[in-house]
Subunit: 304 residues, 2 copies
């Protein structure tokens, strides 16, 4: 796959720098040591890195502060359950990391990062909702359905608006335009041209028995819209809220997209694939633009 | 029921004026003539009023302009279907009417009104989703499931973020704070303390075989959070975007709430109930505050 020419609605520019040196490559192939950070939900994240763990801890603390369990308990207890038990991704953490990279402070992007976590947990719950056209359990991790299907549906339907509320009221009146921009980015990434399109494609591909090439192509397209689009969105939101300039924001969009491609392809068993290596190189090229800044932290998102 | 003392999170003040004159009452009990406005989706609205029909027509035109059918068709065709076939309510129209009442122009609130229509259509679709714990068809209108359950779920999941996107990008940079405020209002009305809570209550009440009094009380609480909360939200959004002052906005919140109570109770067979009359009186009291303005148009929302 030539990632550069694929159909990416989120990546506007097609300009690319030349490949980076082997020095960077060798840095990247060094695996991070297994972390011993103790955090219940983090243990579900694949290979959690101490930096991501620290970012996740801040996001979870913000969410727990914002979402106290209150009346009606019948609504808020399942909401807590689904938010804090869904598998974590690096999307919210990448949002904070991007904010810090462009010189912002973590708290500038904490609501957007929390909203991204909320949206992802709602999506995950709906993906595992027992519908009448989804007979029997699927292959993969066993889902513990603590509540009934109706509660699963309703709870997730309540989580997404709460995410938007969290961002909309995070502004003290100074950054309202940035906040609106972030809301458009998140709406698009989660919506019919983003995650929803990926889910459609996944559902459609699931039933077909095409050639393997078609299958791989299908997976790639799902990953582009799903993990690619979400990580691009996370990075852009952090860049916008951290006060990055347009060029920085667009570099971050591409960097995030490649991070998502790497994560999505590896998750689906393409770890040794040359496309993953290519995406890693392209991601590092984008970071070259930030060479005067502290890029080591955000680079860890390539270490999976 | 004393509506004034009920537990309304959206109605902050408990101050009420004295009852209005019978002159207003007689005006209200005059039924509007059946309209002959030709509009496919309007025919599904109960007793459509020409003023509402005009507002709905503008909202649908705005939505059709904003939501062209494009690739991927597999996503956008069902989206169109669910948006334009769900039964219409007066919530979006009330948003525009409130905007006009406080001196705003219709276009100021058209995106928020469209977003409300989107959210309601998504909610309606999810309410009729065939889940494994909802065996068999329910009593009530027969739902034509044109697409499979998975597509119904995904499409509605895509409609809600599009609603938020529509509002977030409606601003030319001058009204971003008002827009954020509207987004918080909509998030809360649709979320876990609003429509979702009402849906939970409805689901819980559905299985119980309590006394009739409990049943009526249950219905009332559902109506408060559902139709009450949504109409309050619609009216507030219109007031905010039309440039209303705080007092006007809070009066509109209460007016909208009472409109919703009337509509919700009548829809559930309580047309002759004294509570409906009481809500109508309270709604008219709120309108007294706007006596220097043109209130005839918004008063038509009480004529059902």
């Amino acid at each position: 796959m030539d990632i550069r020419t694929s159909n990416l609605t989120n990546v506007k520019s097609t300009v690319h720098f030349s490949c980076i040196s082997n020095q960077h490559r060798s840095h990247l192939t060094t695996k991070p040591k297994p972390t011993t950070v103790k955090m219940s939900s983090m243990t579900k994240t694949h290979n959690p890195h101490p930096y991501w763990a620290s970012l996740h801890a801040d996001i979870e603390a913000h969410l727990k502060h914002s979402l106290t369990i209150k009346e009606p308990l019948v609504v808020f207890e399942p909401m807590h359950h689904y938010i804090f038990t869904a598998p974590k991704t690096t999307v919210p953490a990448l949002c904070l990391a991007a904010c810090e990279l462009v010189g912002g402070q973590r708290h500038h992007a904490i609501s957007a990062a929390s909203a991204l976590l909320l949206m992802e947990s709602a999506t995950y719950t709906h993906e595992h909702l027992p519908l009448t056209d989804r007979p029997g359990p699927k292959p993969g991790p066993v889902i513990n359905h603590v509540y009934g299907p109706n509660v699963e549906l309703l709870t997730s339907d309540g989580i997404a608006p709460f995410g938007f509320e969290l961002i909309a009221r995070s502004d003290g009146g100074e950054n309202s335009e940035r906040i609106l921009r972030v809301m458009v980015e998140i709406s698009r990434a989660m919506g019919s041209g983003g995650v929803i399109e990926a889910q459609y494609r996944k559902a459609l591909d699931g039933g077909s028995v095409g050639e393997e090439m078609c299958h791989v192509e299908g997976i790639r397209r799902v990953v582009e819209k799903y993990e690619g689009g979400l990580h691009a969105c996370g990075a852009v939101c952090g860049g916008v809220l951290g006060g990055g300039c347009e060029e920085e924001i667009e570099r971050l969009r591409k960097f995030g997209f490649y991070v998502g491609i790497i994560q999505g392809m590896i998750k689906r068993g393409f770890k040794e694939d040359k496309e993953v290596d290519e995406a890693r190189n392209l991601a590092l090229e984008e970071l070259q633009f930030f060479k005067d800044k502290e890029v080591d932290a955000i680079k860890t998102f390539l270490n999976i």
